[in-house]
Symmetry: C2
Subunit: 224 residues, 2 copies
DNA sequence: CACCAATTCCGAATATTATTCGCTTTTTAT
DNA sequence: ATAAAAAGCGAATAATATTCGGAATTGGTG
């Protein structure tokens, strides 16, 4: 059980509880549910056509409401699209937070985090398409909540690498940022090729060996 | 000097000479030059605003021509954007082809390829922004030339890893695709964070250690 | 040099699609 | 039962990519 004051744990806890949507929550129950349905419909359409090419008319039809009603919930197409990654990323962080507590070493936790990331994408491919192919690399995102939600991913990995070094699980000479770049880059690249080409064919089976190979790099302090 | 029939060399040679633009080359000299100027102007505007948000009016102004004239050269905004990566990627492959010949081992060649990729992005940041942040991950690209140009990157690395294993430079048990994913993912992720946040601050200085750490993984057959 | 045909160039329509507006219907609270 | 608030919608509006028709420019040829 990690102690309360591990920096990585504090970071993770904050990431699992993102600042709420600043737009006022709809008053009526019906409407709050509609808002979620609309988000789900938008996720499907945006994943199918890409954010830029997707038409609001298609989103409206998928959600079963009028086009102009969309604007009662979200101020623009962009805002609608950018709302998508935040909730599910927070779910991932939260689920990891629960499961990580049971593991004794940072090595195991780091491996779990990478594995859960891949599994999460595999289980929510529409969401993953939007996140990894459109939103993550987007130059255009200025909205702070989205930026933070995505950036937290890197921060969590860096903090875990630091903590593992502090505990002596691997060499303290490994540059944490460089190592985090390798871990994140490898996993996201695997996911991107899977989303684009369905290679590897069996993502679930490929994730284990990938994580092993990456963790092996940490264990042996390669490249120093 | 590699022998003529190395598969990786054949692949690289083809990649360095992409199939030409299928649209007819303009007849007049003036026009051929305009076409290049237009592409350069579009690169700047698209890198600044993103492809989706960039206005054809801005591209036209930057190029010093009328909006409608753009359509005399490229059939659509998309086609204009997608033409950008192809030429420079081919330049990169070609430059690597020249320099690789002087190196004795696949290990050195692979390291050079990764290094040159990072340098190429650093020297052409506008182009790199478009390629790595917008075009590479795009769901939407159906045009075969662009797809191939980008996919060649992965194919070249896989082929080099295979050739190195064949020569006994590293263990034949390393899965080439998985290892290629790690190499590509790490380098492109480093470039993406540099393009988005200018981290690492000094990309040129960070590239060497990154490549060393990655090559160390190959040398020692980590993760098996 | 003068002319023609091909090419290049452009301003003004056209089409598509995100967004706004004003009104109607539904819900909630008293 | 009623009024106020909220949610919903069809019809304008606006921004902008693309098309069109003709004017200007160029390169070749007698």
């Amino acid at each position: 059980m990690p102690t309360r004051d591990d920096p990585w744990l504090a970071l993770l806890t904050r990431a699992a509880n993102p600042s709420p949507d600043p737009s006022p929550d709809p008053k009526q129950q019906r409407s709050r549910q509609r808002k979620q349905e609309l988000l789900a419909a938008a996720t499907r359409i945006f994943a199918r056509d890409g954010i830029a090419k997707a038409k609001m008319a298609d989103v409206a039809k998928e959600a079963g409401i009028a086009v102009s009603s969309i604007y009662d919930y979200y101020p623009s197409k962009e805002a609608l699209a950018y709302e998508i990654p935040i909730q599910r990323l927070a779910q991932l962080y939260d689920a990891f937070l629960q499961q990580a507590a049971a593991l004794p070493t940072m090595r195991d936790r780091l491996a779990l985090f990478l594995t859960m990331t891949a599994d999460h994408a595999r289980e929510n491919p529409d969401w993953a398409r939007l996140l990894y192919l459109e939103i993550w690399p987007s130059v255009l995102i200025e909205e702070a909540r989205v930026r933070r939600s995505v950036d937290d991913f890197g921060r969590i990995i860096v903090a875990m690498i630091r903590e593992g070094a502090r505990r002596g699980e691997w060499s303290a000479d490994l540059d944490p940022h460089r190592t985090a770049t390798i871990l994140m880059g490898s996993i996201t690249h695997m996911l991107i090729t899977w989303l684009l080409y369905r290679r590897p064919h069996d993502l679930a089976a490929a994730t284990g060996p990938m994580v092993d190979q990456l963790m092996g790099m940490l264990d042996r302090g390669v490249g120093l």
